[in-house]
Point group: C2
Chain length 324, copies 2
């Protein structure tokens, strides 16, 4: 009899725990806005119902699904590749921005600016076939460690966002990444890490060309030229180009996501616009209006003015990373 | 007793009919090669097994999924749009290639060549928002009729290919269109007609730019500039860009599909490469090496040399169109 009573008392709580799709989110307005949006669009009888095929959800990657400090993880990959490739490029010893990378001179590197960054990207991301490039990404991801957490970069993904992605997919959303990062840096691992397959990853791209080798074997060669920058106004452009439907749900964390959020907001019917605000100096990082990485300024103003959901990382997330 | 006997005799045949996924295909090597390929890649115990997430199938559109004679259907749309827009463009009365269209002078139109065709495309496909363009496509599709069959163009799709698309999807393939036609001409109707959603349509594209209107409402504006031509070597480039996986199954009908087929063939494991050969003067059209539309010459030679599946439309298809 005692056993039965205990079961009766315990059962409802455990049922509740099982049915909470977002256990790493603290109860609060951010979690509430997500849960009620998903309820609304999946309620066939309600005015906010969205047919499953129109449930397109787009997520920025850096700073939205995984961390982006102290430098964008793709930039860490580029720096590592410069060091690996340096023996084949003796000229880099005296040539900026390569010299700065090899000397570990972060000040000189910063001084090289956007132009220097593009030079580093081109030197490390092009001049090989797509298959060869994929291999360098896979190899680096398997061995590189984040300087602060001493773990593979792919472990620095946000547990609350993994739960959100799964919750959306369980409700027939198609989840996409729409990132300023280059697409072929992400595709080799997004399926394993986020459950997002390569064909649902949109990003910045380099020009590639088709070549038939002497043996008749074709390859796609990565040319030293940027094809399209998937950032800011480029995000809605690429959403239209790649997906061809307007998202009903979008999540970002910086001014580079502002136009994607505007484009999502301007559609008809139920919409969700979310921003991850980095507010946790202890467990992650805190930065916004003044940051060089992931600057969140204009988009934060617009979010507040228009009532978009702003996630306060420190207050809203019980857990940041899966390994905690 | 007689009734029972009849049932016994009839049942197996009707079961067979139900289980044939390709009823509009005559028994023969083309049908056999499709059926056995699908069996092979879905047999978990076999050496040719392909995991569901890698089952990417790409189809050309014009001449592969629907007809392309006497002119590409998109070109018929462009000509109709020129006539509709002419009152706003008095200068077209004397300016080629527009004059040729308005005069119905097909000889002069042909003489304007590829340059003229691009001028017509730009005049009719750009200079408006994406939403506005979609509306012109939807309206035209609802009213325009094919000159020979006197039916909407979307009824001139191939019944055997509809069955093939459905058969592949029933076996966990993701079916894509990869077409030389422009992507936003196809997306408004491919889901209804082929069961292929907008996000699985890849095609030639125009540059679009993001604009915030005076009311704060964003739009994507179609610029008079081609972004990328999804034909020939552009097809594998776009497959990599949009899908990020190599297809295991590809179907085309012309030399513009040759590189897509080569790229598919060059992957590891089980592969299927198919070509629709237009051989039916009576029910459809017959053309190949000498045709200006859908020329099939080099790809036919390569298909024969490498043992790709060549569909003989006249011999292999019981039925061409659903309405027959």
């Amino acid at each position: 009899m005692v056993v039965c009573l205990v079961l009766l008392l315990v059962a409802p709580a455990s049922l509740w725990a099982q049915s909470d799709p977002l256990p790493s989110w603290n109860d609060g307005p951010a979690k509430q806005s997500i849960v009620s949006f998903v309820q609304k669009v999946t309620d066939r009888a309600g005015a906010g119902f969205v047919p499953p095929e129109q449930r397109i959800a787009t997520f920025d990657n850096d700073g939205t699904l995984w961390s982006e400090q102290p430098i964008y993880f793709q930039f860490a990959f580029a720096l590592a590749r410069v060091k690996t490739l340096a023996p084949k490029h003796p000229e880099w010893k005296t040539q900026q921005p390569f010299k700065a990378v090899l000397d570990g001179d972060m000040k000189a590197l910063a001084a090289s600016g956007e132009k220097g960054m593009i030079q580093l990207l081109i030197a490390t991301h092009t001049g090989m076939t797509t298959d060869e490039f994929t291999k360098t990404v896979v190899d680096w991801m398997a061995t590189a460690q984040h300087p602060r957490f001493k773990r593979p970069y792919t472990e620095l993904v946000y547990q609350p966002m993994l739960e959100l992605l799964a919750h959306l997919r369980a409700n027939d959303f198609k989840t996409y990444i729409v990132s300023g990062g280059t697409v072929e840096f992400m595709r080799p691992w997004t399926e394993r890490v986020y459950g997002i397959p390569p064909e649902q990853v949109v990003g910045t791209s380099f020009v590639t060309t088709y070549k038939l080798g002497p043996n008749g074997k074709p390859s796609l060669f990565r040319q030293p030229k940027i094809d399209f920058v998937d950032d800011g106004p480029g995000k809605p452009v690429n959403i239209q180009k790649f997906i061809g439907r307007r998202p009903v749900f979008a999540f970002g964390n910086s001014d580079g996501d502002q136009q994607m959020l505007q484009w999502t907001a301007a559609g008809e019917g139920a919409r969700f616009m979310g921003i991850v605000h980095h507010t946790d100096t202890t467990r992650e990082w805190a930065y916004d209006r003044q940051s060089h990485i992931g600057r969140l300024d204009k988009a934060l103003d617009e979010a507040k003015a228009r009532g978009w959901t702003v996630v306060d990382m420190k207050a809203d997330w019980k857990k940041i990373y899966p390994f905690e």
